[in-house]
């Protein structure tokens, strides 16, 4: 052994790391999750840009840049480490943009960014601690504060008028199934194209970034409830297909209700969460004073998430109910 020993390289024990098991991990990270979601949002963004033109791109970029700048500004102010690289601010920014009308003035995007990042996220402690979806906090804040700007919609390419109502709002213009599917209707720039949103949803499901229970329960319950209303009184109510394809339902069901931080962790909880969103959305759309209820219902269910999580804890493996009278 002594001859070969000198040529054998041995590990240097002083450079060995000692830490707890497990010692290997799969290569998933927050950053990867966020950017995969961004990838899944691209089809809907591209559809928005196609139908609403350069204005849509401008809104998306403005929102994204505002969110990142505001997040970094807040981090500086609070003397915290930079966090924009985790991708969550970028994601919030794009989602905010998708929830805005392509014609909003620039300062609405910046204001939205402030609402989303500071009110929606940082005041609660940053990523992971926010009870409400930040992009939705901004959208609803803007909707309540600036109702006129937020409910004036740019027309799509080829249409003559500058503004028009959303199909849900007034049901005017060409809202044929084809236009609803492709996205050639008025509305927020990221919510109109059903096909693009479904492609995005498929990407999210494929990478297991969302639980199928949420969109299925959400969209399914809206379909069933509005379907019953339509069956009872087709003259007053829209068809369930129209309800599913128009407004922010698909965007909300695939991209906002599924937000990991603000939705339940358990599968059963996700089902309840989706159902709750669907029932509230249908109620607001059918009988509420707002034409659209997706954002409100998701925010409402966000508030219930801790309760849902707590009441849907599954039975652990090998769990036996404690015998009555027996002390621990």
């Amino acid at each position: 052994m002594s001859e070969t020993q000198s040529t054998i390289q041995m590990p240097d024990p002083t450079r060995l790391v000692v830490s707890n098991s497990p010692h290997i991990r799969d290569n998933q990270s927050i950053n990867k999750i966020m950017f995969t979601v961004v990838l899944a949002m691209l089809p809907a963004c591209l559809a928005g840009i196609w139908f609403f033109g350069f204005a849509a791109l401008k809104v998306l970029l403005l929102c994204t840049v505002s969110c990142v700048v505001i997040e970094e500004g807040w981090n500086k102010l609070m003397k915290r480490a930079s966090t924009w690289k985790d991708g969550s601010a970028i994601l919030t920014g794009i989602l905010l943009g998708m929830n805005l009308n392509a014609g909003v003035p620039w300062w609405v995007c910046v204001l939205g960014g402030v609402l989303a990042i500071i009110l929606g996220k940082q005041l609660f402690g940053g990523l992971g601690y926010n009870p409400f979806n930040p992009a939705l906090v901004a959208r609803v804040g803007l909707l309540i504060g600036l109702p006129e700007i937020m409910t004036t919609w740019n027309a799509t390419r080829g249409a003559d008028v500058v503004t028009s109502a959303t199909p849900l709002g007034m049901a005017v213009g060409d809202t044929s199934l084809g236009n609803l599917l492709s996205g050639n209707v008025g509305g927020c720039l990221g919510e109109t194209s059903a096909i693009a949103l479904l492609i995005g949803g498929a990407i999210l499901l494929f990478f297991k970034l969302i639980k199928w229970q949420v969109p299925v329960a959400f969209i399914g319950s809206v379909f069933v409830i509005t379907g019953i209303a339509y069956w009872i009184n087709p003259a007053e109510y829209h068809s369930p297909v129209f309800h599913v394809l128009s407004g922010g339902l698909l965007l909300g069901a695939f991209f906002m209700a599924t937000d990991m931080v603000t939705s339940p962790m358990t599968k059963k909880g996700s089902l309840i969460f989706g159902l709750g969103c669907g029932i509230m959305t249908s109620a607001i759309r059918l009988w509420g004073s707002y034409p659209e209820g997706v954002s409100f219902s998701i925010l409402f269910m966000n508030a219930l998430t801790p309760l849902i999580d707590r009441s849907t804890i599954s039975k652990p493996f090998g769990y036996t109910a404690p015998i009555k009278g027996e002390s621990k």
Binding site: M1, Q5, I8, Q9, M10, P11, D12, P13, R15, L16, V17, V18, S19, N20, S21, P22, H23, I24, R25, D26, Q28, S29, I30, K32, I33, D86, G126, L127, G128, Y129, L209, K211, M260, V261, S263, P264, M265, T266, D309, I313, S314, K315, P316, F317, G318, Y319, T320
Partner: protein, 442 residues
Amino acid sequence: MSEKPRKFKGGVHPNDSKALSKSSPIQDAPLLETYKVIMHQNIGAPPELVVKKGDAVKKGDLLAKAGGFVSVPLHAPTSGTVKAIDKCPGPTGMAVPSIEITADGEDEWGATFEPITDWKNCDPAVLKQRVWDAGIVGMGGAGFPAHVKLSPPEGKVIDTLILNGAECEPYLTADHRIMLEQAEDVVLGAAIIARILGLETAVIGVEENKPDAISQLTEIAGKYNVTVQALPVNYPQGAEKQLIYAITGREVPIGKLPMDVNCVVQNVASAVAIAEAVVKGRPSIDRITTVTGKPVVNPGNWRFRLGTPIEKALELVGGVNTQPAKLLLGGPMMGIAQSSLGVTIMKNTSGILLVAADEVSLYTSEPCIRCGRCVEVCPMSILPATISQAVENKRFDWAEELNVMACIECGSCSYVCPSHRPLNQHFKRGKIEIQAQLRKKK
């Protein structure tokens, strides 16, 4: 077993990396000049020393006797003299009492046990005593005295014996090689344990990624009325509770033992040790260990005497190509990180693993984004993310309510966490704090 195994909920699929060493046959490590045998190699009470400095010992002679029922004796790995009773680095980083033996190079057996060739007609109590006398522990990693598992208390009926050949930890191939090369002994061990328990049959559970071992065992298993059950590849398939569930469909209640659902589980290497102790009269003085990892020059499976320093084991495999980031005893999911090459091989050292810098998880933990991946993979169906936050906030009462005590520390949750949170570490801490509070109450 014609019945299909049940799939337990959860689990992860890390790259098994077994190709590095799985085709390398078991080699006998050459005799060393010095062995440092760690005294306390079993769960339970430490054994009591029966030799003193300067004593001459033969291979297999008693060094320490069992220090109680949940304790096993310790035997000399080779012949020589007891040079010192002192301390050597232990696997947990603390110095532990050890017996240093200077080999005389003769490697001569002392008075060993009488072989029991006619074990089929032998009194089960005698067989069980032999398992205890030979100092056999659970060699899969836990180190729980084998004879204790074979002594169900009055009123507990055992109806199923399972041999654990799952070897679900990535990298490790020692059990795989044992099942291939010592299939006869594995099956024989199963039959002997079955006899001790008064059973007619036994089941050997093996993960499907070892088809050669499955066919090898199946070929001879019928001889002793033993069956082989192929199991789906899913970490932690080899965890006792998950293994019992896969084979019998029974759930071991939280805080209870396999015998509470009428099962006994023994590792395949322990079965071989039991077979050797009975039919050859050989005490537990060595074991098969996988020495592997990407930085290792020649990964392989070796038969090491107890007390072999890791340093010597690494020399046998040609050392390393590059400086590893971690040195582990055991596999990458549950193994213990080491800071010294002076730690010696014990009865439960299933692997020596060197992890390269590019595959090791060196991370900063980020906030939980509640993605629920940990909930999905938890084989015990508890809520790792929530429990981890409870422990972080020192809410041990809450952690207990959320069944942290059910955690088997398999590490699946930490493995998948995108925020790289030290979940497993939190649970270990939570469990220790809760146990400490319980002791205080008493």
